[in-house]
């Protein structure tokens, strides 16, 4: 593929994330500004941390609270990331100097765009999707810091585009019969953990439970001597 069409394809793939990130990033930047941290802090957080939900819960901790609390919060909120890399260990091999950035920038949204890609997608498209996504997030948070609460129009609800993106990827994957059982399992585990543990911090236990349930057939087969 020519450079231009690689860029074009990456841009089109990243469009749904753009809607979500620009809005959520703006909300983050505005929240940070309200807590007394200027644009340079928005830039710093979105460049170095680059993790949506953690950045939101981080803001009150930046204003006060212990460093130990910051450590534990980061661990709890982002524990789910332990599971994302598993699917890309082989894929990111051989990406050379791009590999560290691919690992660093593997957010929920970038991960989901990767999951929706056909096999054999080029490195160039993947790294651009990753970089565009972070760029949207940085632009959004800086804009939020500058505009704070003076946004000219009410965009409340536009972050639903993220939910819609995840749903679309699920529908696409559900067309493939082999993916249906894991999907049902993931949804059931997440639903059960949500109802039992409540809406805060249920995702990491849910993913651990899902991973355990998915490995049971293999362990059982090994146990049966096959």
């Amino acid at each position: 593929m020519a450079e231009q069409s690689v860029r074009r394809r990456a841009f089109l793939l990243s469009l749904p994330v753009m809607c979500g990130y620009l809005f959520l990033g703006t909300a983050f930047g505005a929240m940070l500004a309200q807590a007394g941290f200027g644009v340079q802090w928005a830039l710093l957080c979105s460049t170095l941390v680059y993790a949506g939900s953690l950045q939101f819960v981080m803001v009150p901790l930046m204003a006060g609270g212990s460093l130990a609390a910051a450590f534990l919060t980061a661990l709890m909120v982002n524990a789910r990331h332990l599971f994302y890399g598993l699917s890309f260990i082989e894929r990111f091999k051989g990406m050379g100097r791009l590999r560290p950035y691919m690992i660093f920038s593997l957010t929920d949204e970038t991960y989901s765009v990767f999951c929706g890609m056909p096999e054999g997608e080029s490195d160039g498209v993947m790294v651009r999707v990753a970089a565009y996504d972070q760029l949207y997030w940085i632009i959004g948070s800086v804009a939020g810091g500058l505009l704070a609460s003076r946004l000219p129009f009410d965009l409340t609800g536009i972050d639903f585009s993220m939910t819609a993106l995840f749903i679309v990827i699920c529908v696409e994957r559900a067309m493939n019969a082999a993916d249906r059982m894991p999907m049902v399992l993931g949804a059931v585990c997440a639903g059960a953990c949500l109802l039992v543990l409540g809406p805060d911090n249920f995702l990491a236990p849910a993913l651990a439970l899902t991973a355990a349930a998915l490995t049971i057939p293999h362990v059982a087969r090994k146990g049966a001597g096959q």
Binding site: L12, P16, C19, F37, W41, L44, L48, V49, A51, L54, M58, M62, L67, A70, F71, T73, A74, L75, L82, F83, Y84, G85, L86, I89, E90, K93, F104, C115, T156, G157, I158, F160, M162, T163, A164, L165, F166, I167, V168, C170, V171, D179, P182, M183, V184, L185, G186, A187, C189, A190, L194, G198, P199, F202, L203, A206, T210, A211, L214, T215
Partner: protein, 108 residues
């Protein structure tokens, strides 16, 4: 400790923890020995399971929030599914579903 110093340390800690978590699977299984069969199988079955769990995560306020907000999310989500099964156009499904949601939360 000054406020700026404290804030900077919080950012640094959060950044470091996130990087370690994201890199952990690559550090454990990315070496020459390769990926154990069981992890390789997980790498195939986890993505669809995680995507389904992420949808639940996005809709997590449904059982706990107000009735009208729950209804807005469910209806908009159903629109995305229906539209995508029908047309299979990613951007259309996302744009239309988001528009439906933004309208519903304002009128319900």
């Amino acid at each position: 400790m000054s406020t700026a110093m404290h804030a900077f340390l919080v950012v640094a800690i959060c950044s470091a923890v996130t990087i370690v978590l994201r890199a952990a699977p690559f550090a454990f299984f990315g070496g020459k020995k390769g990926v154990p069969r069981i992890v390789e199988a997980l790498g195939r079955t986890l993505p669809p399971a995680i995507m389904a769990a992420l949808v639940v995560y996005c809709l997590k306020s449904v059982p706990f929030g107000t009735m009208s907000n729950a209804a807005s999310q469910i209806i908009a989500a159903a629109c995305v599914v229906a539209l995508h099964v029908w047309k299979r156009n990613t951007l259309l499904s996302i744009a239309a579903g988001t528009a439906v949601y933004m309208i519903l939360i304002r009128i319900m």
